[in-house]
Assembly symmetry: C2
Amino acid sequence: MNGEGVMTVYGGIEAGGTKFICAVGNNPQDIHAIERIPTTTPAETIARTIEYFRRIAATEPLTAVGIASFGPVDPNPRSPTFGYSTSTPRPGWANVNLAGEIAAALGLPVAFDTDVNGAALAESRWGAARGLDTFIYLTVGTGFGGGGLVNGKPMHGLLHPEMGHIRIPHNRETDPFPGMCPFHGDCLEGLAAGPAIEQRWGQRGETLPADHPAWELEAHYLSLGLMNHILMLSPQRIILGGGVMAQSQLFPLVRQKVVAQLNGYVSAPEILQRIDEYIVPPALGNLAGVLGAIALAQMTFN
Amino acid sequence: MNGEGVMTVYGGIEAGGTKFICAVGNNPQDIHAIERIPTTTPAETIARTIEYFRRIAATEPLTAVGIASFGPVDPNPRSPTFGYSTSTPRPGWANVNLAGEIAAALGLPVAFDTDVNGAALAESRWGAARGLDTFIYLTVGTGFGGGGLVNGKPMHGLLHPEMGHIRIPHNRETDPFPGMCPFHGDCLEGLAAGPAIEQRWGQRGETLPADHPAWELEAHYLSLGLMNHILMLSPQRIILGGGVMAQSQLFPLVRQKVVAQLNGYVSAPEILQRIDEYIVPPALGNLAGVLGAIALAQMTFN
């Protein structure tokens, strides 16, 4: 409630590569409306998003809107291209003024960050990262994204992290697949995101049995990535989400390999004794992104 | 000055593997005394350090002491082993209560962090990172350490980063050297720290000419490491110090390779147009560590 006793309510948009999830509410237990809009052209997708929130706002005035978007984006409020998607390879979506167009059409303040920073913020408020000030949220699906909070705030710096694009060892004798990142070939995303699994084995990951060697190899690459993330950032926890991580057999494999790779160098009981609570799935599931968008709006315009 | 008009002055200790640099002062323009004590056994080194500060404090009372130490250490003030060196392979130095012994002997409050977080803090106050809230400080010498500030505060999280131990691609056909990290073999430190250069080429790096192929290979590994650091953390600047970086021919090589490896993915003018100001040497030189120790004491007990 604000000072006049009017309930505040926020809009959230998880801008994804296949769909825009739009919701209105305040937290996981208080979602008033939700809608999924397929991602097509920017013009059509943004128009349908605006139309949805206009319809809602006619009966329930919104305080602000948050957008948690696929990257790369410009999340710096002091930049002339704040709120734009930037160098994405998705056709038509490079240099689109996502936040600006939605803010102008709705006449509302708009908060803007990456989908993964948004999801991390939601998990820190209501999910698997409550009470932590430094942790990361990785999503392994069509792409491989990563964000998080460090010292209690979303990670930005120069732009925002692109944790999925780090380089890791790749033994081409045991895995001749060359990687498929259009920028870096066999970076982590190029070797371990969903499309790499499909390309390497000739069928989509979800059609491979749980004991297929694909998962041992996938866990190997994920563990190399996570080892680097741990050494770079010293996160208090790692949340691993996204379509690929729906293969729950990956979690024990990844945990075991991370501990083996670190080889006792990081002497923290969280890793040496409680790895099951250290590398975990998101608690908010598929709603982490859109709840993150709402949390971004709340954090920025409360 | 404090409320009574008495000048405040701080002690700083850069606890290094070959020497402890001890100083008394307030900033780079105001250093009252400095002393270098060789690192031998913990008992002897700590005793000589205490003796030095006792002698100083007899005429100039200190407000507090900061320690910026080689890692791994426990920098968490809420931990029972706060201020200890932990799993270091240096003989005798594992599980030494560095901060506790010095605090007890001097009867002074002691701030404690890694040498690289300390150096980063000093560079942010007085050196190459003024005005930045998210940047990293790497030191390439006997070891390969990394720290920094994120969102304006030193990086901690679970413990502290160990950025030098990340895994990177290593082509054993072009470089059969197996790496020499006792924990991870061919991690970044194992391939690119000073001892790896000496072992690979059969002579110390400083005796190799500036056009020796060692430097092209060294720049290759450094650029892979820096690429990962950029993608993980999105730093606004990278400060590269340590004995190996005294080979100044490395800077242009590293800058060029980092830009090539990123391949346009991080579309920031700082990288695409101003890389010379993005990857830089420390401005405080060899004093960054001990000034960092003073800055840690100031930040914690001001």
